[in-house]
Amino acid sequence: MEREQNWSPVQGGAWLLRRALLGVATLLMISVVVFLGTQALPGDPAIAILGRDAAPDRVELLRQQLGLNVPVIQQYFNWLSGILHGDFGRSLASRRAVSGLLATRGLNSLLLVGLSAAICIPVSLALGGWSAMRRDKPADLSVWVLTTVLTALPEFIVGMVLVILFATTVTRLLPAVSMIPEGESPFYYASAFILPALTLVLATLPYLTRLFRGSMIEVLQADYVEMARLKGVMERRVVLRHAVPNALIPTVQGSALVLTYMAGGIVVVEYLFRFPGLGSALTDAIANRDLPVIQAIAVIQAALYVVVNLLADYLTIRLTPRLRTSHG
């Protein structure tokens, strides 16, 4: 952001177009990274999947199945054009179309992340705002201690602590394993979501809480807030009408980060709770060396980051009049 003052003022639309084009370039580069990391490695992917002592005819069959008998560059473009048409190939383990697997698993994960974000965002805003209003008082310090400890802990540690507390050793109130039978609606299995969602919330809550706390403290010291106070506006109104709306703007980007962070967090959290989502599909696929599934999930994960961030940038511009009209 620092250098942007040097740029000539551009309209929001042109800026957005530039960002969107950059986003497309990033997506292309992501596909290259995924392809290089899996398929274009030195050595034969077919042998990597089947093992060194696999029968030559089985290797040859797999090579045909994966389309490995054409030059690497052409393999890449075949794969890319498949993705662009929504065709991620066939799973080597289940022989089903990858897109079908992604749809059922993806819905579960989407619900999990959506639920977690729907809890995390309002709770962190409340906690952060509450803490900012009581700056350096015991309440603020206890929030500081809580967030410092929680921030440090990896998700699987948080999740295991929850399992110990609520599902095994201490109490057995909730299931330690998230059972959602395939083909059944996840809405009937609400209890399967509680602990995984709580883990994701606790892992992301500290960041957003601190972000909003800092943002509120900054805004509460701003001239226009001081002005409102001097005019005799009631403190409650000063906070709700003048401070909060402005302090919320940075939390748009912050929430985007929380969402993308949760999208990565599901890998470990779903494995921990054996939750049938995209994250556990990825770990299963790696255990089975199921190349098309690995590629598809990695691309989706990274693409999500690009799209969510683009949306957050757009929203931030819409919400900040200063950025909407001049440079940005």
């Binding site: 990391g37 410092t148 802990l153 110990i164 890998v267 790696i286 990695a298 994960q301």
Partner: protein, 266 residues
């Protein structure tokens, strides 16, 4: 600061000296599986009848060296990219920042898993990919600070009298980055521990029968109802380690108030 240092020192002590203090070898059968703590096995046994205490004492070194190495390489890589990008004030900056964005798009665990998936669970590969996933995060911080400094008169003066670019980067800019870098390294270390232990937890890191804290949690969680210490002990070690490094980062950042708020998630 003192608490953080004590916590980190405790974990490093256990990880380095633990193997010498362990009463049994980490793979030796001691007692029936999932036995509760007794004089024979102070923290009980795991699902294969191995001594939990001995496995905890032996299981820290892999987490320690891998996360240290990944943090060090990632910080060095990120600092170099950030310095060059911030100082160049040209298209090089735009290209480098775009490349960091490509790496940032992958959740760190997913990036590691992607490369492990076909090349297999090799420890050096995990260290390398974790460090690459840290580099953009360090680079962005370094670039930000560099851009602030680069317009100050002393840099201009150095350029005018013809100081070579390499010396400007290393002797004029780098010393100004020491404090924010220390904070960043503390945060990156916290994340490295989480990722390295997490990859082992998922079963794609160090392989059985070797002993490793992340792996132990995953191996012993099915026996939680019978014998909780097989999970609790390694879990406590990882938690103390990450909280310790995070407290250290926090303490450095508070003592140098001019750095501003650091965001642990980015």
């Amino acid at each position: 600061m003192a608490v953080g240092t004590a916590m980190v020192a405790l974990v490093i002590g256990v990880a380095v000296l633990g193997p010498m203090l362990a009463p049994h070898t980490p793979t030796q059968f001691v007692q029936r599986p999932y036995a509760l703590p007794s004089a024979k096995a102070l923290l009980g046994t795991d699902g294969l009848g191995r001594d939990v205490l001995s496995r905890v004492l032996n299981g820290g070194f892999s987490v320690l060296w891998m996360s240290l190495a990944a943090t060090a390489i990632g910080a060095a890589l990120g600092t170099t990219i950030g310095l060059v990008a911030g100082y160049s004030r040209s298209i090089i900056d735009d290209v480098l920042m775009w490349l960091t964005d490509v790496v940032l798009a992958f959740p760190q665990v997913v990036l590691v898993l992607l490369f492990v998936s076909m090349l297999g669970p090799q420890l050096w590969l995990i260290v390398l990919v974790v460090s690459i996933s840290h580099a953009p995060r360090v680079a962005r911080m370094v670039r930000g600070v560099t851009i602030e400094i680069v317009n100050q008169p002393f840099i201009e003066a150095a350029e005018t009298i013809g100081v070579p670019t390499r010396d400007i980067l290393l002797r004029e800019l780098l010393p100004n980055l020491v404090t924010p870098l220390m904070v960043e390294i503390g945060l990156r270390m916290t994340w490295s521990i989480g990722i390295v232990a997490g990859i082992s937890f998922l079963g794609f890191g160090i392989q059985p029968p070797a002993s490793d804290w992340g792996l132990m949690i995953s191996e012993n969680r099915d026996g939680l109802i019978l014998q909780p210490f097989g999970v609790l002990a390694p879990l406590a070690m990882i938690a103390v380690f990450t909280i310790g490094t995070n407290l250290l980062a926090e303490a450095i950042s508070r003592s140098a108030s001019n750095i501003g708020d650091v965001s642990p998630n980015t």
